[in-house]
C-alpha cells in the first residue's frame, strides 16, 4: 500500500472512530463496542477474524480514544495484550484467545506493572509449575484472561495464561484520580496456568510490548491535546470580554500558538515512533521513548493551559476539561516518567 492509500485509510478510520466515540456521552467504551467496531481485532490475523492491519492503524485508534478521553480497555487489552499475543508461538490457546478477542468474547491483561519504564517479569512458577506473584498497576487488569510474563522452567521467558476467575487468581481494582483509566493489582497464588512461548527472542518480544505501551500512551496524549486545543480555540472565539472575543487578545492567542507548536513537534515524534515500530526498525525503542517523554509532558501543559484559558468555567466538573488534565497527568506517569525515558537516551550517549 502506498503512503497515500494509508493516509486515506487513516482519515476514514479516524472519522469513523471520532463519530462512534462522539456518541458515547459518558466516555465509557466497553469491550463489545471496541470489538464490534473492529478495533480490538485490527492487528489480529484475518484467519482469526481480525483485520490483519498494523500498529499504524492501532495508533490512529489510540489517538481518537485520547481525543474523546474515552474509558476503554484498549491500551491494556489491545495495544499491549494483542501486541503480546501476536508475538507468541501459534498454539490452540493462543489462537483461541486471538479469535475471542477479535469477536469481543474475551479480553486479556498482560501482567506487567505500569509503574516504571521497565517491564521486568514479576511472577514466579513454583516446582509444580503453578503461578505465584502480585503485580500492581496493571492497565485494564480486570480482563477475562491474565497473560503473565514469567521465567519458565528452562530459564527462558514465557507467558503464563490463566483466566482471572480461576482458583488462586485475584484482580483488585485500584481507583485513581483519572476516572477514565482502569488499573488493578493482579495476584496469583498457586494458580494453574498454561504456558505459551514466544515465537522469536523473548527479550525482544517483551521490549516490543513495552514500546507499544509507550506509543499507545503517546498517541493518546497527542489526541487529548488536540481535543483540548480545538475546544479552547472554539471557546475563545465566542467568549466575549471587554467587548471583543477573548481570542483576539495576544496574550491569549500566543498561548494557543504555543500549544499548536508543541502539538506539531509531538506529531513528528509520534509519527517517527509509529513508523519505527511498524517497520521493526532497530531504533524503535529510542523513537518510542522520545515520543513518550515529549507527548507526556506536552499534553499536561496543553490541557493545563486549556483549563486556564477557559477561565472559571474550565475549572468546573461540568466543563470536562478536568478529565483531560487528569488523564494527561496519568498518561505522563504510566510506563515511566518523561525523565525516565530521557534517561534511556542519556544511557545511549554513554
Amino acid at each position: 500500500m502506498t503512503e497515500l492509500d494509508f493516509s486515506e485509510l487513516h482519515d476514514e478510520l479516524r472519522a469513523v472512530a471520532a463519530d462512534l466515540l462522539g456518541k458515547e456521552a459518558d466516555r465509557e467504551v466497553g469491550a463489545p463496542l471496541l470489538a464490534q467496531a473492529g478495533w480490538t481485532g485490527l492487528e489480529i490475523g484475518e484467519e482469526f477474524g481480525g483485520a490483519g492491519a498494523t500498529v499504524r492503524e492501532t495508533a490512529v485508534i489510540c489517538q481518537e480514544l485520547g481525543r474523546a478521553a474515552a474509558n476503554s480497555g484498549y491500551l491494556g487489552g489491545t495495544v499491549i495484550g494483542v501486541g503480546l499475543l501476536n508475538l507468541l508461538q501459534p498454539s490452540a490457546l493462543r489462537d483461541r484467545l486471538l479469535a475471542e478477542v477479535a469477536e469481543g468474547s474475551a479480553t486479556v491483561a498482560v501482567g506487567v506493572s505500569a509503574e516504571d519504564r521497565a517491564v521486568d517479569p514479576a511472577w514466579t512458577l513454583d516446582a509444580e509449575g503453578r503461578l505465584n506473584g502480585s503485580v500492581p498497576y496493571v492497565v485494564d487488569g480486570a480482563a477475562t484472561w491474565l497473560l503473565a510474563p514469567v521465567t519458565g522452567p528452562d530459564g527462558a521467558l514465557v507467558v503464563a495464561a490463566v483466566t482471572t476467575d480461576a482458583a488462586g487468581v485475584t484482580v483488585e481494582n485500584q481507583p485513581v484520580v483519572d476516572e477514565t483509566r482502569s488499573l488493578a493489582t493482579v495476584s496469583a497464588d498457586r494458580a494453574v496456568v498454561e504456558i505459551l512461548s514466544f515465537a522469536g527472542d523473548p527479550g525482544v518480544g517483551l521490549a516490543t510490548v513495552r514500546d507499544r505501551a509507550y506509543l499507545g500512551l503517546a498517541c493518546d496524549s497527542l489526541g487529548l491535546a488536540e481535543a483540548m486545543l480545538d475546544a479552547t480555540v472554539s471557546y475563545l472565539g465566542v467568549r466575549q470580554q471587554f467587548d471583543r472575543p477573548i481570542g483576539s487578545f495576544q496574550a491569549v492567542k500566543h498561548a494557543c500558538a504555543d500549544m499548536l507548536v508543541q502539538i506539531s513537534v509531538t506529531r513528528q515524534l509520534v509519527g517517527a515512533a509509529v513508523a519505527a515500530i511498524a517497520d521493526g526498525d532497530p531504533g524503535a525503542g529510542r523513537a518510542a521513548a522520545m515520543a513518550k517523554a515529549y507527548a507526556g509532558e506536552m499534553a499536561v501543559q496543553v490541557a493545563g493551559k486549556a483549563m486556564q484559558l477557559h477561565g472559571g468555567i474550565g475549572y468546573t466538573w461540568e466543563a470536562g476539561v478536568h478529565a483531560y488534565l487528569k488523564r494527561a497527568t496519568l498518561n505522563r506517569a504510566l510506563f515511566g516518567s518523561p525523565a525516565a525515558h530521557r534517561l534511556r537516551l542519556t544511557e545511549d550517549r554513554r
Binding site: 480555540v233 500558538a257 499548536l260 550517549r349
Partner: protein, 388 residues
C-alpha cells in the same frame, strides 16, 4: 542500493574530498576581506559540483529533486561544511523573486551572474517599518524611464559586500499602505547610495543601514507591476523557508548537538544529562517538521502557518540550547571571545552563540509576530481590532 542511497554516497565522498578541514580554526581570526574571499571560493566549489543552487530549475543550473536536496543538506551538515552566508540572499530570495515574478530579461541578466558570485542584499526593513513592514516610507518617484529613490533601509544583512539589492519602495503615497509599494532590483554601485555597517550585539557588522539619496533605478528593474510590490514580496518571502530551515535544523542536530554533548560529557549532574536528552528529543521533532514542511511545500499542501511554526520553534530552541551551553560552560565559556565566521548559529562559542540567537528571534518576523500568524492563520483565531 536505491538511487537516493547512491546519491548520498556520492555526496559523502564529495564532502570528504572537498569540505576544508580546519576551517573553523582558521575562520575564527580572519579579516573581513578574507571572509568574503573564503565565502566566494566555497560557493564556487559547491557550484562546480552542482551543489550550490540545487533548488533552482534545471534550465538555470539546478533541478535536484526535493528528496536529493534533503540528503545534500543532511550530509553537508553531517560533514560540518561551512555555511553559505554571503550568497544566501542571492540564491534564495533574489532567485525565487526572479523566477516567480521577474521578466525573462531580468532572469537572463541575474541568475547566471548569481552563479558567478554576484552578492545580493535585502532592502526591506526601515527604522519606522519593522514588524509593520508595510509602513515603509522610502519613496520611488517616476521620472521618465527611471524611478528616483529616496529613503533609508536598515538591517540589510551583508549590505557592505552586496552588488545588488532587492528593494521595496513606496510608489503611490496616496494608496492604502499595502497597495502603494513597488519591488525593484537596485544596482548597489548607483550614485546616491551610502552603506553604513551597524555593529550588532556580538560585535559583528554584517547588518547595514543603506541611505538612498536621489538614486536612479531604470523602470526595467521593476519586478512585477507598479504598486504590486507587496504581493511580490509575499509570494517570494516564504518560498525558500522550508529548505533553508531544514539546513539550519540539520546543523543544529549535527554540530550544535555535538558541542552540547561534548560540553556536558563529564558532567555528573543527572539534571544536566536529562536536559541534554530533552534537547535531543526536541531536535528530532524539529528535523521531522522541517522535512515535512519541505515535502508539503513541494506538494503545495503546506498549511498557512507551517513555516511560522518551524521558524518559531527553531529560533527559541536555538536560544534555549545556547543558553544551556553558556550555563554548562561556566566562567570559562565567557573567555571565548571570537567565533568562526562561515559557521552556523551554533559554533560552540556559547556566549556569542547565545547572544547571537536573538538574531533569530527578532528578524524575519519576530517571535511575537510568528505567534500571531500561527494563531490567526493556523488556528483561525480572531484578529486584534485595529486602532482607529
Amino acid at each position: 542500493m536505491s538511487d537516493l542511497g547512491e546519491f548520498r554516497e556520492r555526496v559523502r565522498d564529495w564532502c570528504a574530498a572537498n569540505v576544508p578541514t580546519d576551517w573553523r580554526r582558521e575562520q575564527a581570526t580572519v579579516t573581513e576581506s578574507e571572509f568574503v574571499a573564503f565565502q566566494k571560493v566555497w560557493f564556487a566549489t559547491l557550484h562546480q559540483a552542482g551543489y550550490a543552487v540545487p533548488h533552482w530549475p534545471a534550465e538555470w543550473g539546478g533541478g535536484m529533486s526535493v528528496a536529493e536536496q534533503v540528503v545534500l543538506y543532511q550530509e553537508l551538515a553531517a560533514h560540518d561544511a561551512p555555511r553559505l552566508v554571503l550568497a544566501f540572499v542571492g540564491i534564495h530570495h533574489a532567485a525565487s523573486t526572479l523566477l516567480v515574478a521577474g521578466t525573462e530579461e531580468q532572469r537572463q541578466r541575474h541568475l547566471p551572474a548569481i552563479l558567478d558570485g554576484q552578492i545580493w542584499v535585502q532592502g526591506f526593513s526601515e527604522p519606522e517599518a519593522g514588524s509593520d513592514l508595510a509602513a515603509l516610507r522610502t519613496t520611488a518617484r517616476r521620472a521618465g524611464e527611471n524611478f528616483v529613490v529616496n529613503g533609508q533601509k536598515v538591517w540589510a544583512s551583508g549590505g557592505a559586500h552586496a552588488d545588488w539589492c532587492l528593494l521595496l519602495a513606496r510608489t503611490d503615497p496616496e494608496a492604502p499602505k499595502r497597495k502603494g509599494i513597488s519591488y525593484f532590483l537596485m544596482d548597489m554601485t548607483s550614485p546616491g547610495i551610502e552603506v553604513r555597517p551597524i555593529r550588532n550585539a556580538i560585535g559583528e557588522s554584517h547588518f547595514c543601514e543603506i541611505f538612498l539619496n536621489d538614486v536612479e533605478i531604470p523602470a526595467a528593474n521593476l519586478v512585477g507591476a507598479e504598486n504590486a510590490g507587496w504581493q511580490v514580496a509575499q509570494a517570494t518571502l516564504g518560498a525558500e523557508r522550508g529548505m533553508t530551515m531544514l539546513e539550519l535544523a540539520e546543523r543544529l542536530g549535527n554540530a550544535g548537538f555535538r558541542w552540547l554533548v561534548e560540553a556536558c560529557h563529564d558532567n555528573p549532574d543527572s539534571r544536566v544529562q536529562d536536559q541534554v536528552s530533552a534537547f535531543e528529543i526536541e531536535i528530532a521533532g524539529l528535523r521531522g517538521m522541517c522535512r515535512e514542511l519541505v515535502e508539503r511545500s513541494e506538494a503545495g499542501t503546506a498549511g498557512a502557518a507551517d513555516a511560522s511554526i518551524v521558524k518559531l520553534f527553531y529560533s527559541e530552541l536555538l536560544q534555549r540550547m545556547t543558553d544551556f551551553g553558556v550555563q554548562i560552560g561556566g566562567v570559562r565559556a565567557h573567555t571565548v571571545l571570537t567565533k568562526p565566521t562561515s559557521s552556523g548559529w551554533e559554533s560552540g562559542a556559547w556566549v556569542l552563540d547565545f547572544i547571537g540567537s536573538w538574531e533569530w528571534t527578532i528578524p524575519g518576523g519576530a517571535s511575537e509576530i510568528q505567534r500571531n500568524i500561527i494563531a490567526e492563520r493556523g488556528l483561525g483565531m480572531p484578529r486584534e481590532p485595529s486602532v482607529q
